[in-house]
Structure formats: C-alpha cells, structure tokens
C-alpha cells in the first residue's frame, strides 16, 4: 500500500501496464516531453521511449483515429483528451468507429483502446472546460465508461480499462488529480470494470455517486445511516450492487455532477424504480447541478456542484419528510 495522489496513481497504472504488455502505448498533447498537462504521464517517456509515448499535434480527431487504427492492428493505445470538451471534435472516432468495430467486423477486429479525458468543475477553467459530458458517450452499446473517485480507483480502473478488449472512456475528475489516497498496486489493486464500490455501509438510504461527488456524498453521509455507493463504471453500471442496496434501504438518492436535465442519474433512478417499485419507501431522486453552464466566478462555481452541506440538508429533509426536497435554486427563486 502506497500513499499517492490520484494523478500519480494514474501514472503508476500506465507504467505497470506498459511494463506488463509492450503493446500498450500513449498518445496525447504534451503527454510525453512535458509529462502531461496534469502530470498524469510523468516519467513515462523516459522509461518507455518516444515510440510508445508520443506527443501529438493538436488534432484530437487525428490521434484518436490513429488510436483506433493502432488498436485494430494489435496495440493497446491510451489517448489523453486534455479536457473532455475536446472530444467534441472527435466523438465520431469513439462512438461511431471504435465502439462499433467489433460488431461490424463480425468479431474479427478488436479495439482495445482507452480514451482518458479530464472532466468536471472546480478548477476555475470556465464553462467550456468544466463539464462532465457523460451523455456524449452514453447510449453506446460496446463502449465502457468509467470514472475514478480516488487514487485506488484511478489505479485500478485504469489498469482494467487497458486490459479490456474493447474501447473504454475514462472520465477523470480534474479536481481529484491532486488528492491523496492509499493505493494497493499490482493485480490486487485492479478494480474490475462494471463493479460498483460500496464506500460506506448504511441502512436508511442508498446514495449513489460518481467521480467527484463520491467524496461529497461520503462527507454528507457522516451523521446519517446512509450507504454510499461509488458507481465507478457508468456504462455498464452495476445494477446488482445498486439494486441490492436499495432493496435493503428502500430509498435512493443520486448525487451527480451533471445538469438537472439530461444527467446520467436519471438512468439510476429510472431503472431502480422500474425494478424495485414496491420495495421503495419513498420517491428516489437526484441532487444535481442546475441547468446552467458552469460559471467561472469562484463563489458561483463552488455552488454549481452540489456541496456537502447541501447534500446533507437534502438527504436529511428527504429522510425526515419522505418527500423529495426542492433544489436550492428553486428554493431561492432562481431559474434559467
């Protein structure tokens, strides 16, 4: 067990996979000589050389496409999309090409590539560099989408993603890169894709979170008897664990970094409802960001994402009244 930052855990995972499998290679803007804009590939150029660790021109379509081609030919490329938004110029390669190649080659072509993209708010990067955009990669049969919430998950999911024979999108909360945690390295530290993590047992309510909202949910749960689940893999998500938990607690809250409209938490709420309707003691609901772009001003940005205080208040109200509480902006009379 080693204490390390999330970004170091990512470096460790990449290094361990590159040592174990020489088909693993990295591409991205300033990931080689500079060690990555967020230092998530520091030292890898030195160890693995310029053929396997490549700086690219600014051309997300080009190098994501190149990763598809290299993967088809037996490599396991990991590409870094510096900010998730940049996939907006290259989404075709992920959703329409990579995710479908296995199917459209009758199983003859595999695309074992990983797209790592930093996501989320909290860094003061402004509205075009702060979204999570899980929805861009949702609804794509054949594509796995995972998000680490701490150093162990960063290590374990990254390794699992590289080992997976199909394409995986890793959405990495930028705000967590500097967070420290204990990491088990090696085979024991790998977290299988598609498995949620029960971060804290509880019996009153199930709180499902992902990425950056996991620590928020954990902090908010402190004085509550809440079970906190880190979804870890968003597609396909671990229905067994979540349904099992809600079957026990009878209540579900999703804490989500996504707007109220269109966010991934709808899927959790909807699936749980369709399947466990009679086991529910109260309406399940979501605690989300408002339907507004991420604002820059620090005091606004920090309210955009659900805060610990706010989540605690919402869940407490919910447990007390059995009713779904209104979001803060409606309480304050604010709407877009």
């Amino acid at each position: 067990m080693t204490r390390m930052r999330v970004r170091q855990a990512i470096v460790a995972a990449l290094a361990d996979e590159m040592r174990a499998d020489e088909t693993v290679m990295l591409m991205g803007e300033d990931i080689a000589a500079a060690g990555g804009p967020f230092k998530t590939s520091e030292g890898l150029l030195d160890e693995f050389g310029p053929l396997r660790v490549r700086d690219t021109p600014i051309s997300e379509m080009g190098f994501t496409g190149a990763a598809v081609g290299a993967a088809c030919m037996g490599m396991r490329p990991v590409v870094e999309i510096m900010f998730m938004e940049f996939l907006g110029v290259a989404l075709d390669m992920v959703v329409t090409e990579a995710a479908k190649f296995h199917y459209l080659s009758g199983g003859r072509v595999s695309v074992p590539m990983v797209v790592r993209a930093s996501v989320g708010s909290g860094g003061g990067f402004g509205m075009q560099h702060s979204q999570t955009l899980e929805n861009w990669v949702a609804a794509t049969p054949g594509l796995v989408v995972a998000t680490p919430s701490d150093a162990q998950a960063a290590y374990g999911l990254t390794r699992a993603a590289i080992q997976h024979d199909g394409p995986v999108v890793m959405l990495e909360p930028r705000a967590l890169y500097a967070e420290r945690g204990d990491v088990v390295r090696g085979a024991d530290g790998i977290l299988p894709l598609g498995k949620a993590r029960v971060m804290r047992p509880g019996s009153n309510v199930t709180i499902v979170a992902l990425g950056q909202t996991v620590r928020v949910a954990l902090a908010a749960a402190e004085e509550l008897d809440a079970e906190v689940i880190d979804l870890a893999t968003l597609y396909p998500w671990d229905q067994t664990t979540v349904l099992g938990s809600v079957r026990k607690t009878g209540r579900l809250v999703v804490v989500e970094e996504a707007p109220q409209s269109g966010g991934w938490g709808h899927e959790i709420v909807s699936t749980v409802t369709s399947q466990l309707f009679s086991a529910l003691h109260a309406a399940p609901f979501r605690i989300t960001c408002p339907d507004a772009p991420v604002p820059y001003s620090p005091s606004l940005e920090s309210r955009h994402l659900p805060t610990t205080e706010y989540v605690r208040r919402q869940v407490t109200d919910y447990l007390r009244t059995g009713q779904v509480p209104a979001p803060w902006w409606l309480e304050e009379g604010l709407t877009a």
Binding site: M61, G62, G65, A66, V109, D165, G194, D238
Partner: protein, 339 residues
Amino acid sequence: MTMTPLHSRERRAALSDPLETYRRMNEIRIFEDQIAGLFAEGLVHGTTHTCQGQEALDVALATTLRVDDVVTCTYRGHGIALALGMTPDSVLGEIMGRVSGCIGGVGGSMHLSDLDVGLLPTFAIVGAGVPVAAGAALAFQTRGEDRVAVSVCGDGATNIGAFHEGLNLAAIWKLPVVFVVDNNVYGEYSRIDTTTPITDLSARAASYAMPGESVDGMDLDAVSEALGRHVARARAGEGPSLLEVRTYRFAGHSRADQAAYRPAGELDAWKSRDPLTLRRSALIDAGTATADQLDEIEQSVRDAIADVVERTSATPEPDASAMFRNVWTPAAASPPGQP
C-alpha cells in the same frame, strides 16, 4: 466456367496472373451492375454505392500491396473488397443481409471487411478511414514491422478535417502509410470543382511536406506503377505520401441517383477511357491474350456472378441472436437487467 477459389487469400494470390487482373476488373464491374439492378428492383433494402469506372485502382491496390498490408476505404468499397480477395459470396451476402455475408448480414453494403486480406471494416463516415490508416501504420512502425497501410478516400473527403489531421500526423511521425484519393469527380451530387478550390488534389501534400502525385486512374499499369513507388517508399521508412488517382464514377452516387447533374457528354468522354477497355486493349496489344480469351473470361465471370446472386438469394437472413453478438461487455458487469 472457372470456379472462383473459395478463400480470400487464394483469390488474392491468383492476381499474380495478368489475365486474372482482367478477370477481377470484370468481376467488379459485373458485380456492381448486378447490385445496382437488385437495388433498383427493390430486391435489396437500404442503400448502396457502386464503383463502376474505378476498377483500375481497386485491382492495383490488390496487386501492389502485400497480403499483410492493410487498407482503409469507404462505403464505396465493393470493388476494393473483391479486388483484395473477398469472395463475391461474402460481399453479396453482406449487401443482401444474409448469414453468408462477411459479417453475417448485420452490416450491409457499407460495412465490408476481411482481415485475412488486410481490409479493415469499410468506413461509412467520410474521412474517418484516413487517421485510422495512419494509426495502423503507427502500430507497424512502433513494432518495427515493414508493413504498410493505405487509406483510400474520395475527392470530397479531402475537404474534411480528418483528412488534414491524418496527413499531418503521418507526416510528423513519418508513418508507413500511403494516402490515396480516388478522385471520381463527384462527392454525392456535387462536382468536385464546386466544393474544392484547387483542381490538383495531390497539391495538398505540400501542406504536410510530403510528396504528392496525380495519376491517370483509368490505366491499371499507370496506377500500379505510381502506387508501387509510394508503397515502396513507405515500406522503406521514408514516410507517407499522397497519391491522387483520377477516375470517374460511371454510376450515380447511390442506389436511387440517376446523376442527372452531370454535364452533357462528360460521362461519354470518360467512358471512352473505360479502365476495362483500356486493359483489354493493353493485353491484346501486348500479345498476352486474344480477344476470344478475354471474351471467354468475361462470360465466365458473368456466369459466376449469376450463380452468386442465385446462391445468395437462397441464403437465409440471420436470426435475432446475431443482433447481440460481438458487443463488448466487461465480464464483471452485471447482465443487462430489466428495463
């Protein structure tokens, strides 16, 4: 009647005989004419894009590349698929959505592939095959293999960003890839001069400091010679290049298109340089074959394709389970549950 060999690699190898190249060009032409007919009669649903007029490039690719080289091409890919070695049965089966298709009928006309002869799944998104070919070359380079990737895209595709990004990336990394632009004068219903401000598409190579060349695409020998040089260059580690092959799309863009937008006389002018006719004359002039021999080849191809159509029409569509095969799901994921 000659039997078509059964395996794509054998069909590929057969092309070492010059008469077989003539047979293959005819096979593509006749196959495409048949396809057009089947769609016109409503016997096949969906859409298709045929490549009559572009057979010289198709066959030149097959004779120039090694079988372990790799090609990315477009939805207008039946000819390349047949040339590289795929059997008419597996191509037609796919186009008709039958279990005999190369991917069992779930793909259709735009999604052909056969890794045995280096054909990656053909691309339905314009330009997408360009960076993907660069990526295949990247794999070869990284592993120190002397294999080459070839990207074939259309004239219209030279205006999309992926083309530009793919070429730049290949240039920076000196990848073993040849970018072929099959300039058949049209992108869907638009003449290339209405969408592109230059006439010599290979001139775009200069933006990436790579060699660019334009070649007569109706003459098999000319295409083979030029392509051969570019492929050899790539294989020798000298980096990528851009080859414009000037062909003409004898048919409309897709199923329903009658190509009424063509200027009067244009089609006829190009048909006077039909790649099949040119090849026929060349073989006769060189004394490689007599007119009778070539007639016989044409007839045998016609018969063979008729058989393929008959066989394929009698082949069943896949059952529902085919819809669920070959979707990647991580082993640990819970089975997709109830809705």
